[in-house]
Amino acid sequence: MKTRTLIYALLLALTLSACKGEKKLAQYSEIYRERPAAIYVAPLSDMSLRRAVRATEDSLFNRSLNIAAHQLFLTATDPLVNNGYYVPGPLASAQIAASETRTGKQLRNESINDYHSDLGIDAILFITLQGWNQTPNSWSTEVEYVLRSTHSNSELLHVVVKATKTLPTDFKGNPLPLVEDKAFAERYGCDLETAQRCRLVEIVNQYVLKDLPAGSRARQHRAERYIQSHPEHFTLKIHPDGSVEMKKSEQ
């Protein structure tokens, strides 16, 4: 009886694991087929409405939206890099964008084969910030991600995300800022409202892009990383302020 139960459990586990693989393969079939190695993040198109600058509050609101849009653009590279793709940094991307004569709409719809032939880029990620919505204790945003191949000009990924972040409230119903948001505001020197938006778009980026298939050079990349990041001996030193210092042995 126990043996039979075990066999059933094993079969169930195998089926479930197979389903997971199939799902990812089906979801990212185009990326698996093309296997891009270098991805360029195109300048963000921000469709969110700005308020006319009439009072200090309005300019602060606009500034908050601008900083959040920049944060969305800057943090989009992290999950891609962690998946083993080569992604040019923001300053290098700005130079590429400055030498581009086509508009964003043209880049999304027309041929982008020259990015592969001239720059060695395999795919371009277009991010569109559709807008923001805000209630006293929640922040919502809608972001569209389009990944286009520079080989076949086809869409490898098209995702539209609507994300909402709800804050806890006190007994009067006023929102209580999270500790992480406070730390972000302190570190980046911005106000709490901007921190809420920035942290939300950062999480959205992670959510959408962290599960992408690994880049075509990822296996080698990871192997190298594993060898280099695990030396035979290393020393950990924990400081009184909680920071950890790691010292590797010379190889």
């Binding site: 992604v87 300053l91 590429i96 060695g120 990041s229």
Partner: protein, 253 residues
């Protein structure tokens, strides 16, 4: 029990640390965000300084981020230090060979005179440490900063070190100078064609807009005429009806 808990805690901490070492962190995000938002010379210098520090740390920890050298190179080029920038861009090619075409384009845009210079600094870490201090000194001494330093002290040892290719490693050039020139000409021709196509499309769009406007105007005029005719017809019919009613009234009387 306490020992077991401590052991488990240490094991978990080690596992967590080893897991974290694979991901890329420690990029100067705050400085980058400040530069993207304000675009000032001060924020650029602060960013360059932080980038140098981040590269130093990344080189020590073997977690170099793709594009990190290139970004620092672009920052240096924007500050006017083209020789150092060229070395950083070449170091990017050395670390990530897939960035060769991209870096070539950036060099073509920012430092066309150093296009064929392929010397990458061998002792990147030491140079970066000095560059970090240099950027910080410039920031404190020269605010507000010009885009290109007006005077460079020729006795500056760092500047001399960057000029001398003693510690440099040559990256093999795959293309000859003639091929590069040809490539450049091809690219220029392609860009000219693209610009021409863009101008043509703009002209076509303008013409289409004019045609559409003209057609709309004709349609409006036609509709207006039809409306006037209909109104005239209705007026005439109403007049006839009134005449008819008047005649009927007269007959009854």
């Amino acid at each position: 029990m306490t020992n077991v808990s401590k052991g488990t805690f240490i094991l978990l901490a080690t596992l967590l640390l080893s897991a974290c070492s694979g991901t890329y962190h420690g990029l100067p995000r705050a400085e980058m965000l400040a530069y993207q938002t304000y675009r000032t010379h001060g924020s650029l210098h602060a960013l360059a300084s932080a980038q140098a520090q981040a590269i130093n740390d990344a080189v020590k920890a073997d977690t170099l981020h793709p594009g990190q050298y290139a970004d620092y190179g672009v920052a240096l080029a924007l500050m006017g230090h083209k020789s150092a920038a060229c070395r950083m861009l070449n170091a990017e090619i050395k670390a990530f060979p897939e960035s060769r075409s991209l870096v070539y384009r950036i060099k073509q845009r920012l430092m066309p005179d150093l296009l064929l210079d392929t010397a990458a600094t061998a002792r990147d870490t030491a140079h970066l440490a000095q560059l970090a201090g240099w950027a910080y000194d410039s920031l404190t001494a020269l605010l507000p900063l010009p885009s290109v330093p007006a005077v460079i002290d020729s006795t500056d040892t760092l500047f001399l070190q960057m000029q001398t290719p003693v510690d440099s490693v040559e990256i093999p050039i795959r293309l000859t100078a003639n091929q590069k020139r040809q490539l450049l000409e091809e690219q220029q021709a392609r860009e000219a064609l693209r610009k021409q196509a863009q101008l043509d499309s703009i002209a076509a769009a303008k013409q289409a807009k004019i045609d559409a406007r003209r057609q709309a105007q004709l349609d409006r005029e036609k509709a207006k005429k039809e409306k006037e005719q209909a109104r005239e017809q209705a007026r005439k019919e109403a007049q006839k009806e009134r005449e008819r009613q008047r005649k009927e009234k007269k007959k009854k009387q």
